[in-house]
């Protein structure tokens, strides 16, 4: 009944996944996502300062990071479940779920370890766009590293059945597709110092892909 540790997640110890009831494990992993996600989120939101009204940005960002990860996961799960079933991999689904949750936990742990870099960047540079790009870089790096954890957790599954590799790619595509839109909807994470603090921006109801298409089009037609 040991709680799952940071070490177990980062070192992708599959045995730690299997020795306890699945539901309990999922809860423990979710807790890790919340704790470490909120830590990095708080740091993200501290760009404009932490006192006075800006405290709310720190709080909002802290809440938004776990929300982003778990919300995207929840939306992507039903279709992943059905495709797993169709490919005949339903028996492994419980373990897959725990592996995916552990990857999210790993992501937040890695992000939290990058927090000092973010603090240093904020202290050094006052440019808002730069801050956003730096955070995007941190997220990108953490996501990339978290894939190692995912691969390691999935290794026993892939060994048992190579179709899991295909399913893993399908998961990443669905997750990335939903996640990008989710990150866009949940903005601001950093919070421009010049604008008042809000949970959502006024024009939140926009679509990341539509904007991307517009940018690409403008780039080619100017």
């Amino acid at each position: 009944m040991l709680p799952i540790g940071v070490e177990d997640v980062l070192r992708a110890r599959s045995c730690a996944m299997l020795d306890v009831q699945p539901a309990r494990r999922m809860l423990q992993l979710a807790l890790l996502v919340v704790i470490f996600g909120m830590s990095y989120g708080a740091v993200m939101g501290s760009f404009g300062g932490v006192f006075g009204e800006r405290f709310w940005q720190v709080f909002y960002s802290a809440v938004k990071v776990p929300l982003l990860l778990m919300g995207t996961g929840a939306l992507s799960l039903p279709s992943f479940f059905v495709v797993n079933t169709l490919f005949g991999l339903r028996c492994d689904f419980s373990y897959s779920l725990r592996a995916l949750a552990a990857t999210q936990a790993a992501l937040t742990i890695i992000l939290a370890s990058f927090a000092p870099f973010t603090v240093l960047w904020y202290v050094s540079f006052a440019n808002y766009r730069g801050a956003i790009l730096f955070n995007a870089l941190m997220f990108g790096g953490a996501s990339f590293a978290a894939q190692w954890v995912l691969r390691r957790f999935y290794r026993p599954l892939i060994k048992r059945d190579t179709r899991h590799r295909v399913l893993l790619r399908i998961w990443l595509v669905i997750y990335a597709f939903v996640g990008i839109q989710m990150a866009w909807v949940l903005r601001p994470f950093v919070g421009s110092p010049g604008i008042a603090t809000q949970f959502f921006r006024q024009d939140a109801w926009g679509n990341a892909y539509v904007r991307l298409a517009e940018i690409i089009w403008l780039f080619f037609t100017r």
Binding site: A74, S79, T85, L86, F87, G88, V178, Q181, G206, W217
Partner: protein, 267 residues
């Protein structure tokens, strides 16, 4: 109600289309329960599609929700009705000896697969519907989810047809061969290598003609489904137009998708 979804679950997991069952001549797909599950899943996805209209804060938003919830299961059943006669006829022409009942059960099972996949993509569609103003994007997203669901469902159909043909060929070769052959047919390797999924390919397809006919038929099914969805529109509800149960007859599905793609990039 749980029984209906359990039956659908068995189909998705490939339990109903296992070679061992088909070899015994058992193709047990309960049409009634499955149709009920299809209707429920269709209503749920229809609601997801229609949720885009919730952006409009008026009574019309609810009308679109209701209309889509009713129209979506109807879309699939109508496509089934339109394409069923030709499927049965082509099966008879090739000589697979799929009875009317079996052909209907096969198609219903495939519809079940399509709707299971579609309904599972529902939450993603709702999320985008509530956070996107762009109507062309929503149109293309729903076309994409429909395409994915259609591909998986028709994939299931083709794989199951393959298996039924193989089973029939085996029984035919058994009938014409000696008892020694029949012993050989029940090879133990058949059991060991039995795949576990509904989408798994079993054995090599021996009749080329049958294969190409089935594939051609799935293209027909896809085309009918696509155009039927255009005929029954609107499902999503263009923000610039008032609510209507059906729109005026004009253009077609493919032109509309092309126009949506263009407007997405040039807006």
């Amino acid at each position: 109600m749980r029984k209906w979804f359990k039956q659908l679950d068995d189909i998705l997991r490939g339990e109903t289309t296992r070679m061992s069952l088909l070899t015994e001549g058992r193709f047990e797909i309960p049409i009634g329960g499955l149709s009920a599950a299809i209707v429920l899943l269709g209503v749920s996805y229809g609601l997801c599609m229609g949720s885009y209209a919730m952006i409009r804060t008026s009574g019309q938003a609810y009308m679109q929700l209701i209309a889509s919830a009713v129209k979506l299961p109807s879309l699939f059943f109508l496509t089934l009705i339109v394409t069923f006669p030709s499927l049965y006829v082509f099966n008879a022409l090739i000589g697979t000896r799929l009875s009317v009942g079996s052909a209907l059960r096969l198609l219903t099972a495939s519809l079940g697969v399509i709707l299971a996949v579609l309904a599972s993509l529902g939450p993603i569609v709702v999320f985008f519907a509530l956070s996107t103003k762009s109507y062309p994007f929503m149109l293309l997203l729903n076309v994409a989810t429909g395409t994915i669901a259609g591909l998986l469902g028709l994939g299931f159909l083709l794989r199951t047809l393959d298996r039924l043909v193989i089973v029939q060929e085996r029984t035919e070769s058994l009938g014409s061969g000696s008892t020694a052959d029949s012993e050989q047919a029940k090879k133990p390797e058949d059991k060991v290598t039995e795949p576990t999924g509904a989408l798994d390919r079993v054995g090599k397809f021996t009749t080329r003609k049958a294969r190409s006919v089935f594939r051609a038929w799935t293209i027909v099914f896809a085309l009918v489904g696509a155009q039927m969805s255009w005929v029954l529109r609107p499902f999503i509800g263009a923000p610039t137009l008032p609510f209507q149960w059906f729109r005026v007859r004009e253009s077609n599905f493919f032109v509309a998708v092309f126009r949506a793609l263009v407007s997405l990039f040039s807006s």
